[in-house]
Subunit: 294 residues, 3 copies
């Protein structure tokens, strides 16, 4: 889109924010103020500010589900950071699609299982921090100014030393045999849909090949194709309930009826057409779900 | 503002989003990612993402109340879409003020009663969709890429065939005689104010002429003038309560007192000064309201 | 950043919004529509739209806590406005950092205690309002169009007459002796942290000098330095609880434990590591807090 002569700092960089700060108090606005002070051309996207407080795992899943749809070279600033000010390191990671900035607490580990990355840097150079940074709000005082400087073209190695080891979240539970896949609920969304660990985002390539006849997920292109049904029988068990089929759309069952489908992130999801599955079945993150091939 | 030589794709287009997705999960961010990937210059406005899940009628009202204040040529992407992936069509509508993009389920019908429109197109051309679109998230996979391409100057007829018939919501209840107007509550807002179907947005020109002496609404300019009071007596009945006057401002009655006024959208509204009318009176959308001329 | 020849109207102005409107109804979107219609280059930041309805004092605190981080020349539009349409005046204030626009009800008084300001104008010139403004939504009809015109370079004196007197909120409770500081909770944030009136934002320079040995707040630069602990004993009393130390970070105590620290705005804050202090102790805005020097 841009000619070779136009340098990176002149583009309109995209900075995407993911926090557990809520939107009542002005914490996010302080971050945006710092970003736009240092990089007036930045285009800021809010991924979410409603991650459950300190729930790093939920943030990791939400980031994963969105990441491939962000513009190339997007700078993600993710701050779910119960260890702020402690020994946990502030980091920046160069991926094949952009830059990830935030605390080294596993927040990026789901994305980094699926996306190639190169170097990781500890953000220790105070020259790129807000002067006299607080010990409780690195989102404003370290992560935002660093993101703005990245947007302005400062290379990552300027921010601090290379790190060779990252904190990593445990993978979501997932046990695959030829007859059964056992997983867990990893997220309940705004509609009450229960999204499980079974599917595209958590599977390795080997799993994909094994289950491809069922889910028809195109691993190479990263896009979920429409699954083919009826070829093999499947049933999905969660709590005391069994759903005996996979559906294509929410509207393919009557209003209020339980349904299971492969969602828009390529994951097995339990839903209720125009209803709230999590409330109806009492589902929470961590609940087990089993997929049986008949 | 722009000289004639500058083509549409070079402007800074405004894209306005209206959904029931909430802002916790990253669904909206995925849409914005697609929009900015394809149209980096877009300026995105969030109309609301807190429409009650699947409440097409509420979305239709919120869109109507905002529509005239959006910049000329705004591209609205509205996704309250219980039928996603089913036979309901994804559409784009060319209006005198811009483009409306979303499912053909009546979402646009309140706006299209008040605003001139020309052509409607079914968004069937896969060339303008995200490759391998999901069956559950057309907001990301069909509506957003189409909106970005419209912003980039692609004419609507490229997206699919012309449609001659649209889905239409039933009009809000409204019965007008010389002595009485009967209507219904169409929306309870953030403050607990109950907005009724009685007023500028739902009335035809004939109704306007009839009631003009009371409400002094300037139909041609689309702006509510300040009503003249005391000329004729009116009373407003809702639930078991009667309000015996129309007020100009919330502050014209003591704190905590019930009030009725013509709101900023030109609609009859029941409110409580610095209170929550809907909770105080137990009002919900669909409740009847009667306006009597003494 | 810009050469001297480039006039203000050609910059990318930042307009920051602070309201109690919520984000469900489209009220904020109507404001943004007016802003972008009149000033298509504006970059809009949402400070918060979740101020408790009509809580001017909460809005004043949130604005104060964010204000120094907004870009230079930011135009703030703040609308928490129970007196809308009544005799309270719509105003614009020129500060050393930008422009404040909103109702004259004390909303700006916390900021104006800390930031130099010059002139105040009543926004009486209808030429810069939406034609036929409503009596209930000056955010859309007066404050937004005025903000857009300011962004476009219209000088403040064009909007109306100079005002010599402003409405002022009472200062937060604060009583300082050599042994004790008594203050009050001024805000409970999204995490349940109770932010008190004791600290940088509310203290005068004299107070700062007196308490500097304890809090080590750098008044001149406006940045909170890390406090030095152990030099003097302090204890913080709130409700029936006494906290016997100040901490540097949330993570410096075990999860679930009560903590007191100087927060990122330089204020004394009561928190629970990864918990909700306000719920745990039953704290609400207005509760007394005492800081004793041992």
């Amino acid at each position: 889109m841009l000619s070779a002569e136009i340098q990176k700092p002149l583009q309109q960089p995209v900075i995407a924010l993911l926090t557990d700060f809520g939107i009542t108090d002005g914490y996010v606005a302080a971050m945006k103020g710092v970003l736009l002070t240092l990089c007036p051309m930045a285009h800021i996207i809010d991924i979410s500010h409603h991650i459950e407080p300190q729930n790093v795992r939920q943030a990791a899943y939400v980031l994963l589900s969105v990441y491939r749809y962000l513009p190339p070279e997007t700078i993600v600033v993710a701050v779910v950071d119960p260890g702020v000010g402690s020994s946990r390191k502030p980091i920046a990671v160069q991926t094949s699609q952009g830059t990830l900035i935030g605390p080294d607490n596993g927040l990026f580990s789901y994305v980094l299982r699926k996306i190639k990355y190169e170097n990781v840097y500890a953000l220790e150079n105070p020259m790129y921090h807000v002067s006299g940074p607080s010990t409780t709000f690195h989102g404003r005082d370290i992560f935002s100014p660093v993101a703005a400087h990245v947007a302005n073209g400062v290379p990552l190695h300027k921010f601090g030393p290379n790190l060779t080891k990252l904190e990593w979240l445990p993978d979501p539970k997932l046990h695959i045999t030829s007859e059964t896949v056992q997983g867990e609920v990893i997220h309940v969304d705004h509609f009450g849909n229960a999204i499980t660990s079974i599917g595209h985002l958590t599977w390795d390539a080997d799993d994909m090949v094994k289950l491809y006849p069922i889910f028809k997920v195109s691993f190479d292109e990263g896009i979920t194709e429409i699954p083919q049904f009826g070829v093999e029988a499947v049933e999905i068990a969660i709590k005391d309930t069994v759903i005996e089929f996979l559906s294509l759309t929410y509207a393919s069952v009557p209003k209020g009826q339980l349904i299971s489908l492969i969602n828009s992130a390529g994951m097995l999801e339990i839903a209720v057409n125009q209803g709230h599955a999590a409330q109806q079945l009492g589902i929470a993150a961590g609940d087990m779900v089993t997929l049986n091939f008949g």
